[in-house]
C-alpha cells in the first residue's frame, strides 16, 4: 500500500515538473511583457509590472514594425487556410468515399504518395514559379495552396468512412437533391466535428508558418507575424525596447494559448481521433 502510494507520489512529482518545464517560459514571457525596458534590464523578478498597456501601445505604434498589419495579415492567411483546407478536403474525401470511377484508386494512391513531401523541397521551384505568375509579395500563395491538403483529406476520409453512411446520400438523391447540394447541405453538417478539429490545426499551422512566407513576402505591408519576429531578431537587439520585444512574442503566442485552453478537450482528442473513433 505505502509503496504504491510512493509510486503515485513520484508520478505526480514528475508530471508536475514536466508541466512546469512546459509552462515556465510562457510565465516568464507574461511577466516580462508587463515590465518596462528599464525594469527588465535591472534583473529578473517573479512579480508582475504595470507596463503592459504601455508596452502594448508602444509596440502597436512602432513605425519600424507594422504589428497591427502583421496581425491582420496573419489572421487573413490563417482563416483563409482553415476555410479552404477543410472545405476542399471534405469535398475531395467525398469524391473518393462516395463515387465509383475509373481512376479513383489511382487518385487515392497519388494523394497518399504526396502526403509526406515537405513544402521545403519544392520551395525553389515555388518562388520562381510564383515570380512568373506575378504572385511574389502576395498573400495568395500563402493560403490558396491549402485547397490541396493531403493530410487533412486523409483525416476527413477516415471520419467519413465511419460517420457518413452511403444510405444517407442515396436518400438525398431520392429526394431529388443534386450532388453538389447534397454535399453542402447534408455532408458538411455531418462532418462538423471533423471540420472543427481540422480548422483549428490548419489555422494554427498557417499562423505559425515561417519558411515559405519569408521567401514570398517582401513589403512591410504584407508581412505576417513570424516574419516580423524574425525581423526583430535580426535587428540590433541592444537598441531595442525589451518590453516591446516581449510584447510582440506575447501577441504571437498568447492568443493561440487562450484558444487552445478553451478548446483543448477537442484538440487533444483530435490528435488521436482515429484510434478512438470505433
Amino acid at each position: 500500500m505505502s509503496i504504491s502510494k510512493l509510486n503515485k507520489f513520484l508520478c505526480y512529482l514528475v508530471l508536475i515538473l514536466l508541466s512546469i518545464l512546459c509552462l515556465i517560459s510562457f510565465y516568464l514571457l507574461i511577466i516580462n511583457s508587463t515590465r518596462a525596458h528599464s525594469e527588465i534590464q535591472k534583473g529578473f523578478s517573479f512579480n508582475f509590472g504595470d507596463f503592459f498597456d504601455a508596452n502594448l501601445k508602444n509596440v502597436l505604434d512602432n513605425d519600424q514594425l507594422p504589428v497591427l498589419k502583421g496581425i491582420r495579415n496573419s489572421l487573413f492567411v490563417s482563416i483563409g487556410t482553415a476555410i479552404l483546407a477543410t472545405y476542399f478536403s471534405v469535398l475531395t474525401a467525398f469524391s473518393i468515399h462516395t463515387y465509383d470511377f475509373k481512376f479513383k484508386r489511382l487518385a487515392f494512391t497519388f494523394i497518399m504518395m504526396i502526403m509526406m513531401v515537405p513544402p521545403q523541397v519544392s520551395a525553389l521551384g515555388f518562388i520562381r514559379w510564383m515570380g512568373e505568375l506575378d504572385l511574389m509579395d502576395s498573400l495568395i500563395p500563402l493560403f490558396l495552396p491549402s485547397i490541396a491538403s493531403p493530410i487533412v483529406f486523409y483525416f476527413m476520409l477516415a471520419y467519413m468512412q465511419s460517420n457518413l453512411p452511403k444510405a444517407t446520400i442515396e436518400a438525398a438523391r431520392m429526394d431529388g437533391s443534386s450532388e453538389f447540394r447534397t454535399f453542402n447541405l447534408i455532408v458538411l453538417p455531418i462532418m462538423k466535428p471533423a471540420i472543427a478539429v481540422q480548422a483549428i490545426f490548419t489555422f494554427v499551422s498557417a499562423w505559425n508558418n515561417y519558411f515559405i512566407p519569408s521567401l514570398i513576402i517582401r513589403s512591410a505591408e504584407k508581412k505576417t507575424l513570424p516574419i516580423l519576429i524574425a525581423q526583430l531578431r535580426s535587428a540590433d537587439y541592444l537598441k531595442f525596447d525589451m518590453g516591446q520585444v516581449y510584447m510582440l512574442i506575447f501577441l504571437a503566442i498568447i492568443p493561440i494559448i487562450v484558444v487552445y485552453i478553451i478548446l483543448s478537450k477537442y484538440i487533444v482528442r483530435g490528435v488521436a481521433v482515429g484510434s478512438v473513433k470505433e
Binding site: 469524391s95 509526406m116 519544392s122 490541396a148 490545426f201 481521433v273
Partner: protein, 318 residues
C-alpha cells in the same frame, strides 16, 4: 428503364471527377510544377557572382557533385542529425513513460486531462516566437543569466557555446513534441488487447518483462511511425535554429541545419545548388516515407494505420 438507370450511374461517376478538380488543379499549380521546376533547376548552373548573373547553363550533375563534396553540407547534415537525436531520445523515453502512466489501470492517476493539455500545448506555439522567447530568456543579459548571477554563479554566454546552443534547440524540439508523441503512444497502448496483458501477469511476468515482451512488440508499428515521422520532421528542422541563431547557425555554423543551408542559397539566388540540395532532401524524405508505408502496411493492424495517419496532421519533430 434499364438504360436510364445506367446513364444515371454514369452521371454519378462524373461527379467523382468534378469534385476532384479543385484539389488536383491547385496541387498541380502550387506543388507539382514547383517540384518539377526544382528538379529541372538542379541541372543548371545559375547564380549571381557579384552583380553578374552566371547561367543558366546546363551542367548535368555538376551541382550535385559541388554540393556533396565541395561545401560544408556533410557538416550540416551531421548537425541536423545530432540536434534531432538530442531532442528525440528524451522525447521517446518521457513519452513512453507518460503513456504507460496515463493508461495504467493500477496507478489510476487523477488530473490526466489537465497534464495532457499542458504537455501538448507547446506543440501549437509558433516556433519562430518560441525560439525568439528562448533567445531573449537565455541571452547574455536575459532572465536566466540574471538568476545565475543572483545565485552567485558566473553568467554563461549560451549562444557562444556549441553544446549549449545545440542543447537548447534539442530542448525546444523536445518540449514541442513530447506531448504529441505521448498522445500517439497512448493510443497505441490502449489498443493492446488487455487479455494479453492479464495473461502475462497471471504467468507471473514482472512489469518490466511485460513491458519489453508484450507492450513494446504490440506497439512497434506506432513506435516505428513516431521514429520515422520525427526523423522527417528533423530533416525539415528550420524555424527554431534559424531564429535562435539569427540564421548564422552559430557558433561557427555548428547549429546550421540542412534547410537553413537551403534557405541561404535561396536568398543568395544560387538556384543550381539550391535545386540539387532540394532534390537530395526530397530523396531522403521519400526513402523514409517508403519505409513508413512498408511498416504500416505489413505489420500494422488497420486501426493503427488510421490513428497514425491522423496524427501526422501535426507532422514530425520540426
Amino acid at each position: 428503364m434499364k438504360t436510364s438507370k445506367k446513364s444515371k450511374s454514369i452521371s454519378y461517376a462524373k461527379w467523382g471527377y468534378i469534385f476532384l478538380i479543385p484539389f488536383f488543379t491547385i496541387y498541380i499549380i502550387f506543388s507539382l510544377i514547383p517540384l518539377v521546376s526544382t528538379f529541372y533547376n538542379s541541372f543548371f548552373e545559375n547564380y549571381m557572382s557579384g552583380l553578374k548573373q552566371i547561367g543558366p547553363n546546363f551542367v548535368g550533375l555538376e551541382n550535385y557533385k559541388t554540393i556533396l563534396f565541395d561545401t560544408e553540407l556533410p557538416k550540416y547534415a551531421y548537425n541536423t542529425l545530432l540536434i534531432w537525436i538530442l531532442g528525440f531520445i528524451p522525447q521517446i523515453i518521457v513519452s513512453m513513460v507518460l503513456a504507460l502512466w496515463f493508461t495504467s489501470v493500477r496507478l489510476k492517476l487523477k488530473f490526466t486531462g489537465f497534464f495532457k493539455t499542458v504537455i501538448y500545448m507547446p506543440n501549437l506555439i509558433m516556433a519562430a516566437a518560441f525560439s525568439m522567447l528562448f533567445w531573449t530568456l537565455f541571452s547574455d543579459i536575459g532572465p536566466v543569466n540574471n538568476l545565475l548571477v543572483a545565485m552567485g554563479y558566473e553568467p554563461i554566454s549560451f549562444f557562444q557555446n556549441i553544446n549549449a546552443t545545440r542543447g537548447l534547440v534539442g530542448l525546444m524540439n523536445f518540449l514541442m513534441w513530447f506531448g504529441n508523441t505521448t498522445i500517439l503512444l497512448m493510443a497505441g497502448v490502449m489498443g493492446i488487447d488487455s487479455s494479453i496483458l492479464e495473461a502475462a501477469q497471471i504467468d507471473g511476468a514482472s512489469s518490466w518483462k511485460t513491458f519489453w515482451n508484450v507492450t513494446i512488440p504490440s506497439i512497434k508499428p506506432i513506435l516505428v511511425y513516431v521514429f520515422l515521422t520525427s526523423l522527417i520532421g528533423g530533416v525539415q528542422m528550420f524555424d527554431v535554429p534559424q531564429i535562435l541563431t539569427n540564421g548564422s547557425g552559430g557558433p561557427d555554423r555548428t547549429s546550421m541545419t540542412m534547410i537553413m543551408y537551403l534557405n541561404k542559397h535561396l536568398f543568395s539566388k544560387n538556384y543550381g545548388l539550391a535545386g540539387a540540395l532540394s532534390v537530395i532532401l526530397f530523396l531522403i524524405t521519400a526513402i523514409i516515407s517508403f519505409i513508413i508505408y512498408k511498416n504500416l502496411t505489413e505489420k500494422g493492424p488497420k486501426e493503427k494505420i488510421d490513428s497514425n495517419k491522423k496524427i501526422s496532421v501535426k507532422g514530425g519533430g520540426k
